[in-house]
Symmetry: C2
Subunit: 79 residues, 2 copies
Amino acid sequence: MFLDFFRRNKKSSAQKAKERLQIILAHERVSNKAPFLEDLRKDLIKVVAKYVDIDPKEIEVSLQRDNSIEVLEINIPIK
Amino acid sequence: MFLDFFRRNKKSSAQKAKERLQIILAHERVSNKAPFLEDLRKDLIKVVAKYVDIDPKEIEVSLQRDNSIEVLEINIPIK
């Protein structure tokens, strides 16, 4: 998962290279607290948008759960 | 690098399990723009602190560069 986003870019060398940002957020829970990653995701994207020019339609998000670990992956192509 | 933070936790089973959050930020640059990951790091930690109780002294940050890819790793134990 990690860096696959960038590897994908390398394959399509015919395309114009684009700047990209990948955020991986891994959360290990001890108890079953209310989920917060969804709201955090929105806030994180807002923060990133302060620094780089983002097209919201291009953002890819995936969430995986493995026992007590939740992994949120956000892939952001930069304009 | 990825998930090592959590593996470390598993080894020291004598310690009380702690909730943890790991943020990996990978940035592939096309050009040599001014670095922004340092400022972004501060903003990201502020956002995370809205959701979970963080001790700023416990946060570990590392930055690695490999050609055009910068990887910022932020490890946050949650109180």
